[in-house]
Symmetry: C7
Subunit: 192 residues, 7 copies
């Protein structure tokens, strides 16, 4: 989208990107696009649906040898059957994960059954969408990979800062995304 790129500096000069709830003249939400850039610069996180389960691979990026490595959280458990990883602002991720954990727990108490992975994903994305539309809030600067096993079927979702989500066979977010994606595409994905 060559035209869009070359117009962006002009949009910056004119301030279209300095207020959240605003479209640029070519119909873009620049603050949301910048939040996505934060994600692309985050530490790499990979998730795959395998023939016998789900696989998370993350780069913890521990550059300080004094950190207790086994305590660095990059993969969170939302419920017995649902996990998640993230790339971007990790404190933003934690807010979303804690919300999802609570949601899952409430579901167990209320319905006496495990929550669906998709329900968790939709709830996360509803909050993300609100933060792109209401004034006084910035978009979440984080993408989440949420994966769970619902009735023995593994499912993997990616949510972006816009609040959009897709179901994937395998996906990667953060640093090195284009290169790793190519590798993932070459692998023969399991049929469902």
């Amino acid at each position: 989208m060559v035209k869009g790129e070359s117009m962006q500096p002009m949009h910056q000069l004119m301030g279209y990107d300095r207020a959240i709830t605003m479209f640029s003249p070519d119909g873009r939400l620049l603050q949301v696009e910048y939040a996505k850039k934060t994600v692309r610069q985050g530490s790499t996180a990979i998730a795959m649906v395998c023939s016998d389960g789900l696989l998370f691979v993350t780069d913890k990026r521990i550059i300080d040898s004094l950190v207790v490595p086994e305590t660095v959280e990059k993969i969170w458990q939302i419920d017995e059957h649902i996990g998640a990883t993230a790339s971007g602002i990790l404190s933003d991720a934690r807010v979303l994960i804690e919300r999802a954990q609570l949601k899952a727990q409430q579901h167990r108490v209320t319905f006496d059954s495990a929550i669906d992975t998709l329900t968790v994903v939709k709830d996360i994305c509803d909050l993300k969408q609100i933060c792109t539309q209401s004034g006084g809030l910035r978009p979440f600067g984080v993408s989440l990979l949420v994966a769970g096993i619902d009735n023995n079927v593994p499912r993997l979702y990616e949510t972006d800062p816009t609040g959009i989500f897709y179901q994937y066979k395998a996906t990667v977010i953060g640093e090195g995304e284009p290169e790793i994606e190519e590798i993932l595409q070459k692998r023969d994905p399991p049929d469902k």
Copy 2:
């Protein structure tokens, strides 16, 4: 409206388009017009009233082969007899669809009958209108095609970011709209 077009850059320089609840000197709401541009750049969605029902055609735009294609939602079911598709920001669409689903469900519980398609459309448009008039909110960057069969009569509506809606025999939103519209107009539309 040649004059209007040539005046737009000047309006941009002067900031009429950087606050939602504001008219430009020639009486336009620029943020709403930019939101419509978002829709025009969205993936194509077509809906038609046919002699024996309704037809939705959508371009899912799946460019990543790792996405599980059959899970990509571009056509949503609002109720047993009402469906919808969208073009623009899909997370904005989801918020509106979820609201419509809830509305339809509440109608069934309260009145023990199916909701009218027009009632659903009006409710969506009321929320869209508010987002063009109240500060601290941006307009919804999405158009919806909502179609349903009320008492065996198929009805199709298009809602734009302003909150305006029209009933159509057949219509298209998103990329390629002018070309596809021409084709649709040539087809003999059913009487009703």
Copy 3:
């Protein structure tokens, strides 16, 4: 008011018209004046008090042959005896009409009698006035012609974006207003 006109561009350069709740140095509310421009560019709507009732004439401006023409609403029924038409932003009109319909319905339930046309008009204008005085809201970009028959007497009112209203024998809003007004003035208005 030549002076006012020549001063307007200077006021625009200085930003008097980029915040709603603000007077310009010559005592004008520019955002309200721009909203009126929106109305003048809207599709034409005419209403007349006739010897034996009321007449609405509207231009539906259907330029897309795929629209179902008989479903395009430009004349709304507020109550059994009150109708309305509009020029300007039609989604703004719908918000006001729906409010009026509710108001009329509530009146019937509460007082077991039909609401007065003037009461409906005043209620619409109260909301319009608030939107010219409170921050965080833009003025309504629509004029309404509201006409009703109260105790066999037909009455016709025009409301503008300021929230001002007048009773008319016949009136026109939207595109072509000056030309049509001249024609209406030549017609002999009924003495009532």
Copy 4:
């Protein structure tokens, strides 16, 4: 106040008049002064205390022959014994008048007696003052002449956009104020 006048353009350049709750460096509230200018450009309204009652004279400024002249309100009845007229933004006036009518009605119900004209005037002015001090609201762009007969004594008050009021023997607001005031001053005012 020559200095003040010559400083005003500088104040405008520097933006002291583009936010309501703000003093200019020479201690003026410019938005309130602009609101007063709106009043001076309004249609003329005169009120006088006469030997045997009160007199209102107003210019309805009906320039459109299609308006039903006898329905144009420029003199309102607040209660049996209190009337009012206005100059400036007439929808602003209506808001204040409706509030006063309600206040008068509540007084009758609560105390079983007629409200004092001064009480009505003070209540109007309290609301006007708030709109000059709180953010998110513009001053009322209207002056009101409120006159009533309390215990057989006629009283006439003028309220300006600041929320200041004075009792007058006779007074004029709107277009032509200086000229008409001269005439009123020449008339021998009743001793009361």
Copy 5:
């Protein structure tokens, strides 16, 4: 404070005086200083503690001969034993006086005794202080002289727009303050 004076125009150019809740780099609240200028331009008001009571002298500044002079309020009674006068924006004064009158009345009802003059003054100053610290409100543009006789002891207080107050033997606010103050200082003030 020569340095402060010469820096003020620079502060104005840089906007330190165009938002209420803000200090200038040299530690001043410019909006409050401008409000004080409003007071200095107001009509003169003098109050004195005399050997046998309190004296108020005010300039009503009636320049319009049509005003009923005896109705112009510049000295208000807050309670049987407390009076007040003001200089600056008189509608601001009225808001404070009405609040004080209510406060005094409530005191009588609650404690069955007269309110202390100092209690009234502190309450007025608390409200004035809030208006210099909270966003969305401008400072009160008025100084009040409040004087009362508590247990046969006359007391006189001056409150400024900052919400600061001092007890005086005699004091003057408004136009001509420096000259009149000199005269008051020459007079032998009563010992109390």
Copy 6:
């Protein structure tokens, strides 16, 4: 911190000091620093812990001979055993003192014992901190010296506009602080 000083004018030009809840690029809260400047320009206030109690010395700065000098408050009693003095905006001080008095009184009623001086100081500082972090409020432009005798032990605290406090043997705020501090440091402070 030479670099910081030379960078400040640039920060002023760029507006880092014109919104409260904002850090400058070198990590400073400029509005809080300006509030501290207000304090440094205030009238001098000294407090000391002596061998047999506490000593307050204040400059009342009475430049108007008409003020009743014994009524000028610069030393306030918060409770029987706690006093305070201030430098900076005195109406800001009063708000904090009145809050502390209420807090002390509530403590007596609730716990039937005297409040700790430190508890009073912490409560004052909590409010001061909030005013440096929340939008729509300016920092308090005042430093307080709060001193009390808790169980026969005298304690003296200084609170600044940031909401930071320290316990002192003797301290000074306001005009002439550096010079007086030198003198205080030469005096042999009591051990405790």
Copy 7:
């Protein structure tokens, strides 16, 4: 990240760092980065997990000899088994510490057991995160080292202004961080 550094002055010129809830075009939250700079300039604070407990070392930076040195708080007790130290704005620290103390106390009352150190840390970080995402609040300008002994296991956490935390064997914040960190890394950390 050379490019980021060289772009920062441009971002400053364009105002990306003058509103909290906003990303810069390269996906950074500049206000949060400035808050971190405040921390780096704060007084040094060190914490270590030792073989038989926890060690806090802090620089109290007492430059005024009149301050009572033993009263300067830089190490706070949150509960019997949890302590904390801080670097940055100390009044911001106090707000977080008081909140943590209350949280710990409530835990004891509710569950009759000691709170986990991690629970305290997460609660502090939740509040810190909110202050980086909501308008009208600035980020906390302080890092905290929180350390506790849970069931005989010592644990040490560092929280930054973003609301991110890590568990450390030993860590340092504030002035001199790089140099001291090198020393800490050379020390053989205990295996736990």
